[in-house]
Symmetry: C2
Subunit: 124 residues, 2 copies
DNA sequence: ATAAGTGTATTAAGAAGATTAATACACTTA
DNA sequence: TAAGTGTATTAATCTTCTTAATACACTTAT
């Protein structure tokens, strides 16, 4: 499912939230599919069930999972979180772009990078 | 000089590094000026001198300060760190931009944001 | 009905890292 | 010489993450 990085100094549950969120939002987990149970994922990753529970609770809070008592946790449909996810990433992008401007990086430079990353041309 | 945010859960020394780096790279501290002594800044922020020392050591490692034994720490000239700073910010910008693409944000949208933030137009 | 599997909650203990504290030393400046 | 500087060391305290051992309510399959 996911792989933990033990060089990462952050708490395990945070790392799990990040990796699972990426897995879900990148389409690595189909919508409405059942997530591994708290206990089984804990076993698989050799961590405590409480740690997995904490990660799942955070993912539910953020809208990427929903839980049916007694049945399990399931991947939320993209329609539910796509907008929020985009808004979140866009805010981060704006912040970093302002930092780039502060650091003296020219707008023209970022424009070229943008073309590079998106693989298209925007003018003419 | 700087203000600590006690809601921030990161270690104090990390927070200090970030704030002082921003202060220096945004021109808030003139090049070659003397930084507050470890002891005086510790007093001002009500933290332990060791904590300030740790932040200063990191800033020196990153090239934003230099130290003269017995005299104090001084702000490095922009020429020394500008290039590294730009490279660092650019890498971060590229990462976030890829994340934006992954999240389904259109390149055209980012292009408009770029114009907004830099306050100019790039195409004809 | 029963058993097994699910999420959730609680309490306690452990482990790791950040922070404080109290010193000490070498250097520079007045 | 005295005061101010950065730096180093050692120990103790504090906080947070993590583990551990249970317990409970719910759902599904038998």
């Amino acid at each position: 499912m996911i792989l933990l990085d033990y060089r990462d100094k952050r708490p395990i549950y945070e790392q799990m939230v990040e990796k699972l969120e990426n897995l879900i939002t990148s389409g690595g987990l189909e919508a409405l599919t059942k997530m591994p149970s708290v206990r089984s994922l804990a076993m698989e990753l050799s961590v405590n069930p409480n740690t997995v529970q904490r990660a799942y609770a955070q993912l539910e809070q953020d809208g990427y999972l929903y839980t049916v008592s007694g049945r399990g946790s399931f991947v939320t449909a993209p329609e539910e979180w796509r907008e929020n996810k985009q808004a979140k990433v866009l805010r981060e992008w704006q912040t970093v772009t302002r930092q780039a401007r502060e650091a003296g990086i020219l707008g023209e430079r970022l424009f070229r990078e943008l073309e590079e990353i998106y693989g298209r041309a925007y003018h003419d």
